[in-house]
């Protein structure tokens, strides 16, 4: 499988990355190299092997349900571009 310039632009839009035509072309060839690598891996016969969700065969460690965090919002908000009444302010979004 290989990507068209339109595929690249669509992926860029979904990722909220602004790219021009020449960047799209460059990304297209880089991404296609990655797809070639995937194609090589796809050629391996995996019949009868269960898919893995993670590269290592280990399972998730669980944490006890207790509150361990304290309020640090002042420190976090000191580096935010805009804050009011404890809220982070962002450009208006209405769906």
């Amino acid at each position: 499988m290989s990507l068209s310039p339109d595929d690249v632009k669509r992926i860029a839009r979904l990722a909220r990355i602004e790219i021009d035509d020449s960047q799209a072309l460059a990304s297209q060839s880089q991404l296609n190299t990655i797809f070639d690598l995937i194609a090589t891996m796809q050629a391996v016969d995996t019949q009868g092997i269960a898919p893995m969700a993670h590269a290592q065969e280990v399972t998730q460690r669980l944490r006890a349900d207790s509150v361990t965090e304290t309020d640090h919002h002042a420190a976090f908000q000191a580096i935010a571009p805009a804050v009011e009444n404890g809220l982070y302010l962002v450009p208006k979004v209405i769906e």
């Binding site: 993670h54 998730q60 669980l62 944490r63 509150v67 965090e69 009011e84 809220l87 302010l89």
Partner: protein, 475 residues
């Protein structure tokens, strides 16, 4: 043309854990903005999620309660989309291998039993809140809710009317609060319903095109939104239009649904397994210990109430509307051994009085033991139904125990037949006209005489006894 409605519901239940699903922040509702949002919740670079065992246990409880399959290995995925209240740029959810698959929910719609199959239930994190009030033309973001554990419960599209949808949602609400995995507070967003609605001509096998109504936070809105949407879809089709797949919002002020986004700009979520989280393994010992700790479930309790206390299926359904109500009923029924009579009192006088006072059963000034004692005094003939209501008022006011109120207010039903006979004789003597009318065949006159006797006894005579004695005397 006859149309059939097809509905599937997706319910987001906030799980009743102390801390968030992937961080140690508190999940308590109502804190000042962003004071319960840690580095993980606001997605600072380099942080890693650590899964909360309590959230997983809630999902196990739910699966056991609905007879679902628990995936012994389940996997978290990233669902990618951009929105300011989702600072990571993805929501951690479960797509291909959810923790719960299948299961059934059985409930009553009116008097008819219905069973709906569940597709799945998966764990995920809630997003933050966007506040669109005007902050100098900007939007305010509160991330306290970000990372609150959710169990999203998805039904098969087997629901056929708004009434069924509401009955299903109510039964699910009862169940998740019953087993203690969700506080059920709909005003606070703990239980939010999305409805997928489509219509098709009766007899057609394929489904029509569906529209999804998002974020309904009351049963009333769920009903109104579906009713409006179904009418709109049928009118559109009958006018020769087409339904486009879309996400819509319900506006409670107008009672209408309106388009939020069409399929054209529907999100492409690009799910993939979250490399920050390993597959979750559920071991059998854990599952068994959760199973052993589950309370008796509403469906089992309904059957038991019918057999042990001789209440109807309908009444048993009402009595198990919440665990607190069921426990109240059972305590009162055990206290006097009169299940049916207690059921009538719980659903009649007690519920009505609680409603009027805007209290729930846990706040009832009349305890289950007191109600049981009251019913016992009706059963043994001390109180008539009418007198019992007066005693109930006394209990409600906190005037003491049942027997003390009966004594203090002189509410004992007259059981001495000699005393009653004397009253009847007096009434007959002073109501000769009614007696004559009765003898000339006027049935109404008999009732008038009973009324006079009850009045003369100040309501304390036993009506059945009055009836018998009066009949005997008029022979």
């Amino acid at each position: 043309m006859k149309w059939e409605t097809v509905i599937g519901l997706e319910v987001h239940t906030q799980l009743a854990t102390q801390s968030k699903i992937f961080s140690g922040s508190s999940t308590a509702f109502g804190a000042s903005p962003n004071t319960q949002a840690s580095a993980v919740d606001i997605a600072l670079p380099g942080v890693l999620p650590v899964l909360n065992k309590g959230a997983v246990e809630c999902a196990i409880k739910f699966a056991l309660a609905i007879g679902a399959t628990l995936n012994r290995i389940n996997v978290f995925d990233r669902k990618n989309y951009f929105y300011p209240d989702l600072p990571k740029g993805y929501q951690i959810s479960q797509l291909a291998k959810p923790i719960v698959e299948g299961g059934v929910l059985t409930f009553l719609v009116g008097d008819t039993e219905r069973t709906v199959n569940l597709t799945r239930a998966h764990l995920e994190e809630d997003a933050g809140k966007s506040l669109h009030e005007d902050f100098h033309g900007m939007t305010g973001i509160d991330l306290n809710r970000a990372g609150t554990p959710l169990l999203e419960i998805v039904s098969e599209p087997e629901i056929r009317s708004s009434a069924e949808a509401v009955a299903y949602a109510r039964a699910l609400h009862t169940l998740v609060t019953w087993i203690g995995i969700c506080d059920g507070n709909m005003q606070e967003g703990s239980f939010r319903v999305d409805a997928n609605v489509s219509v098709r001509p009766v007899g057609q096998a394929e489904f029509g095109t569906r529209r999804e109504i998002k974020n309904l936070n009351s049963f009333k809105f769920l009903q109104q939104a579906i009713d409006y949407e179904v009418r709109w879809q049928i009118e559109t089709l009958e006018d020769g239009g087409r339904i486009e797949q879309a996400t819509v919002l319900f506006d409670p002020d107008t009672g209408e649904t309106r388009m939020m986004r069409s399929k054209e700009d529907a999100h492409d979520y690009r799910y993939f397994p979250d490399p920050d989280l390993l597959p979750v393994k559920l071991d059998e010992d854990w599952i068994e210990s959760v199973r052993n700790a589950l309370p008796e479930l509403p469906a089992a309790m309904q059957l038991r109430f019918q057999s042990e206390y001789s209440v109807s299926a309908y009444d048993a359904g009402l009595l198990t509307g919440s665990r607190a109500l069921a426990e109240y009923f059972e305590a009162a029924a055990c206290a006097c051994g009169q299940g049916k009579l207690v059921a009538n009192w719980v659903m009649g006088e007690l519920s009505a009085t609680l409603n009027k006072a805007e209290l729930d059963i846990t706040q009832s000034p009349v305890s289950a033991r007191q109600l049981g004692a009251l019913v016992a005094r009706i059963q043994d003939g001390t109180l008539s139904g009418k007198l019992a209501k007066l005693v109930f008022e006394g209990l409600w006011e906190g005037a003491g125990e049942v027997d003390a109120i009966i004594e203090a207010r002189g509410l004992k039903q007259m059981s001495d037949s000699g005393e009653l006979e004397k009253i009847i004789d007096d009434v007959l003597a002073s109501n000769q006209k009614s007696v004559e009318e009765f003898h000339s065949g006027k049935e109404k006159a008999f009732n008038a005489l009973i009324g006079q006797v009850m009045k003369a006894s100040k309501g304390k005579a036993n009506p059945a006894q009055v009836n018998d004695l009066l009949k005997a005397k008029l022979q």
